[in-house]
């Protein structure tokens, strides 16, 4: 398999706090890779540094064999890498439809855009019912669906999902993760950041466990689920 993304010794510093102390990992094309870890382990910082929301203080990010370190986020987004930020990043005053249209701004493949739009509405029928509503009036689950739908509308083949389960009811979380699996089966590469370690490990192919801004462990998700140390620290310890 080909590596679609390679992260090398990525370091992020906020003021005097080192959020990431040089982490390295890779994602193969078509994989779901998850990064799990406690609050403040550096999960979100990793995604932010990849998508250009923060500048890494050192390290490298390669995406599709191109160095994207230090590129501005709008140019990274145009490479086919879409980041669904923590808290869903809603543009609350825009309607559902406008949010989706916004994401297609740089696309020239108009026929495909139309197809993608239909596909998103098919995947998320509730968005279709609420097309004309301001996205600020949606429920948390609907907003998460819109955030993912919007990422798809950019035409991205690789999604960075930051805590898609945050603040959602278990039933909705289940639905969202089924969508994530479906998207992956349809060919999307996914980097998933989660605090909900069990659900994430059950969804992903491989996983990295982050602690204090460094990779503690990595491997196949199935192996990590049965790892006693991981079980004790992240899966409720049974």
């Amino acid at each position: 398999m080909t590596k679609i993304m390679e992260v090398e010794d990525l370091e992020v510093v906020y003021g005097v706090i080192k959020a990431l102390q040089g982490i390295s990992f890779y994602i193969d094309e078509g994989e779901i890779v998850t990064i799990i870890g406690a609050n403040g382990a550096g999960k979100s910082s990793t995604l932010r540094a990849i998508s250009g929301m923060v500048r890494p203080s050192s390290g490298k990010v390669r995406f599709k064999n191109k160095d994207i370190t230090n590129s501005p986020s709008h140019l990274i987004a145009r490479q086919g890498l879409s980041h669904v930020p923590e808290g869903r990043g809603m543009l609350t005053k825009l309607t559902v439809e406008e949010n989706l249209i916004l994401a297609t701004y740089n696309r020239k493949d108009h026929a495909k855009v139309k197809e993608d739009m239909e596909e998103v509405y098919k995947q998320f029928p509730r968005l279709s019912e609420r097309k004309k509503q301001a996205s600020g009036n949606l429920s948390g689950g609907e907003q998460q669906m819109l955030a993912i739908g919007r990422a798809l509308m950019t035409g991205a083949d690789t999604l960075l999902l930051d805590e898609p389960s945050m603040g959602l009811a278990p039933l909705i979380v289940k639905e969202i993760f089924e969508v994530i699996k479906r998207l992956n089966q349809a060919g999307k590469t996914i980097l998933l950041v989660e605090q909900n370690a069990m659900t994430a490990l059950n969804t992903a192919h491989r996983a990295y466990i982050l602690e204090n801004g460094a990779v503690l462990k990595s491997g196949l998700a199935a192996d990590l689920i049965s790892d006693p140390e991981v079980k004790a620290a992240y899966l409720g310890g049974h």
């Binding site: 250009g52 501005p72 709008h74 930020p85 990043g89 916004l102 994401a103 701004y105 919007r150």
Partner: protein
């Protein structure tokens, strides 16, 4: 009753022009988060440009409007990166520095105009200057009616652009959250530049109307800078519909105060009303700002 109606119509007519300035100023503030103290000077420069072009070419100032709007849009487009540079400086109070910068720009432009053209009031004579129209049984100068109709038309076109086009969506997205817009592949700097260009173009265009209704002089912009603040704060920061309502309100207030209290009290009363709005409706008249 006749005077009351006359005052109301005058207020609405002048409010129509304020709306164009207010909407541009408000959207530009909403996207860039920079208060442009030079708003009045763009009005003044628009009026002077029309005046001098008219002197040399004898083309009616009203016919020069498309040219002036485009020319100043270009000026704004070329100038915006400089303001952006000031804001981007890694300094704790970069926003304050931007404020000081546009304040300085305003002073510089006004001072330069004064040096170049002196204190004299000049009249901008248009083909409508001598005409009157009958509006709801009230006689109004044709130039005022034309300015208002044109301003409302331009504002409506701008609203259509913002709410019905793809680029308009990107502007509203950037106004709400530039970081998220960036994740969608939208270049925030490009949008800021575009919006500033539109705002400067619209404002200079309004200057031609203001100059032909009143007169043209280097200090003419001052009161409009204060007006722009009133409209943005009263309408709610960055709110389009709020700016429209506040623009009309401003026209009515200034018209009524001028007639029934006296022109000297316009600002006093205006800012007292603004104070009340801030106390009781801190998010603006329509509650849509932030």
């Amino acid at each position: 009753m006749g005077l009351f109606m006359q005052t109301t119509v005058n207020g609405i007519l002048i409010g129509g022009i304020f709306i164009t300035i207010a909407v541009g100023f408000s959207i530009s503030y909403g996207v860039m988060h920079i208060v442009d103290f030079a708003v009045g000077e763009w009005i003044m420069l628009g009026a002077f440009t029309a005046f001098w072009l008219n002197q040399y070419t004898k083309i009616d100032p009203l016919l020069l409007i498309p040219f002036i709007a485009l020319f100043f849009a270009l000026v704004g487009y070329l100038f915006q990166p400089i303001i952006q540079k000031v804001v981007n400086i890694k300094h704790r109070s970069a926003a304050m520095m931007a404020l000081a910068f546009t304040f300085g720009l305003s002073t510089l432009l006004r001072g330069s105009a004064l040096t170049l053209w002196g204190f004299n009031n000049r009249n901008l004579v248009t083909m409508l200057s001598e005409m009157n129209v009958n509006l709801f049984g009230i006689t109004v100068p044709a130039i005022r009616a034309a300015a208002t109709v044109f301003s409302i038309f331009v504002t409506a076109a701008f609203a259509f652009f913002l709410y019905r086009t793809k680029t308009g969506i990107t502007i509203r997205a950037a106004a709400e959250d530039k970081t998220v817009a960036g994740l969608m592949g939208i270049d925030g700097h490009r949008i800021s530049r575009l919006v500033y260009a539109i705002y400067v173009g619209l404002t200079a265009m309004s200057g031609v109307f203001i100059g032909s209704i009143f007169s043209v002089f280097p200090d003419m912009g001052l009161r409009y800078t204060a007006f722009a603040f009133f409209v943005v704060v009263a309408g709610g920061m960055g709110s389009f519909s709020g700016a429209i309502v506040a623009g009309l309100l401003l026209g009515l207030i200034s018209s009524f105060v001028s007639v029934y209290v006296g022109g000297a009290y316009v600002f006093l009363i205006l800012f007292f009303i603004l104070y009340l709005i801030l106390v009781f409706l801190p998010k603006g008249i329509l509650g849509k700002g932030w």
